[in-house]
């Protein structure tokens, strides 16, 4: 099962909101919505792994770090992200990172700890 990590992104959230609306209007069932999300997980994981090929560098001050359930969560301040084409500065950024070597944690993101991490 692919990481559900990417549901909390613009792409993932917009999908979840859309599904919620369809559930509310009773056009689909929650189970169907879940199936769609699972499919989304696969698609986005695959797309990122295969269709993206760029590098970014960043530097900043580490404010907090947390490692729990094999998930790292960092909060950095005054960060600069650099890509070849552009420079992006933010005062604060949260980084949530799952283990890149292990792709199969079926119920990984169902644990409360992890959910809190991701959704905070």
């Amino acid at each position: 099962m692919a990481y559900q990590l990417y549901r909390n992104t613009t792409l993932g959230n917009s999908l979840q909101e859309s599904l919620d609306e369809l559930i509310q209007s009773q056009q689909i069932t929650p189970q169907l919505a879940l199936q769609v999300l699972l499919q989304f997980d696969k698609a986005i994981n695959s797309a990122l792994a295969q269709r993206v090929r760029n590098r970014v560098n960043f530097r900043g001050a580490l404010n907090t770090y947390r490692f729990c359930d094999n998930v790292w969560t960092f909060v950095l301040n005054d960060v600069e992200f650099r890509e070849v084409t552009e420079l992006i500065k933010v005062e604060k950024v949260k980084i949530v990172a799952c283990d890149g070597k292990s792709k199969c944690f079926p119920n990984f993101f169902e644990s409360k700890t992890t959910l809190r991490t991701l959704e905070s």
Partner: protein, 375 residues
Amino acid sequence: APPSSNTNNPKLYRSVIEDVINDVRDIFLDDGVDEQVLMELKTLWENKLMQSRAVDGFHSEEQQLLLQVQQQHQPQQQQHHHHHHHQQTQPQQTVPQQAQTQQVLIPASQQATAPQVIVPDSKLIQHMNASNMSAAATAATLALPAGVTPVQQILTNSGQLLQVVRAANGAQYIFQPQQSVVLQQQVIPQMQPGGVQAPVIQQVLAPLPGGISPQAGVIIQPQQILFTGNKTQVIPTTVAAPTPAQAQITATGQQQPQAQPAQTQAPLVLQVDGTGDTSSEEDEDEEEDYDDDEEEDKEKDGAEDGQVEEEPLNSEDDVSDEEGQELFDTENVVVCQYDKIHRSKNKWKFHLKDGIMNLNGRDYIFSKAIGDAEW
């Protein structure tokens, strides 16, 4: 695969959307869910993405329009004030001249100054008043002359297209063509105005459960447009001036989320508080709530009470304007996987991959990211 910088975000997102939609088609069918619902899902998804403005060029034209909306506030109400006043006594109406609806549409191609407006949800709901006018009565009050010109198109976020037309006498109606139309495709052509500066408001209307039946084409007097969850309603309004008089724009760029919950509830509440005044233009940005009968008297008194702002709407507009500028209060988040996290004393090094970032409101993607930080 070609290397992708973040200028390729839209393509990546598009391909993910396509893949997901195609992959779940069978699941939908197995569940007995109609293909149309699948298409609605796709439309909703794309619309939200576009509205988030997190992705450049996802629908580039719409984004520009949205930006215009964010940046401009239109108090065009004032100019039309007098027009409206005069119109109030026109015999065409058996119902009171209400404050104009929030929308005004003017076909870009036909009139120089009309912005395209899309109807905000919540306001529509509130106009709902089953007792006001029967369709027949309304139809009777509306002459239907031959010279009907398309005024604008209104799009629900479920992709349904409503066509507003203006008759020669100035009355405006709304029809609903039978097929659903994707939001963007219809909006764009209208947005090539001859010098129109007016903002375009991208409206997110909650999906209409079951869609509006083809029969539900609404005949609406000029200014009140009424949508409901599953039926349409005719609401008599003032006669539109045969000019851009009705340019009312509601910058609702950011306020859809609030409208939607109301939209999906079946019961409609007629709002009778707040704007008791009669000046239509001034109420453009406000909810058109009135009971028509009440309004009639007030209107005829000629009261131009001065603008009664419905604060919530306007203030929301202000907020959204600010958000439209650079100083986002977004939470900057990076969602990714780690290859290696290293620490030496208080010096940390991050080796990350396959990440999606949302920084200052925009999305970026990387296959690899390397960072340093001191704790």
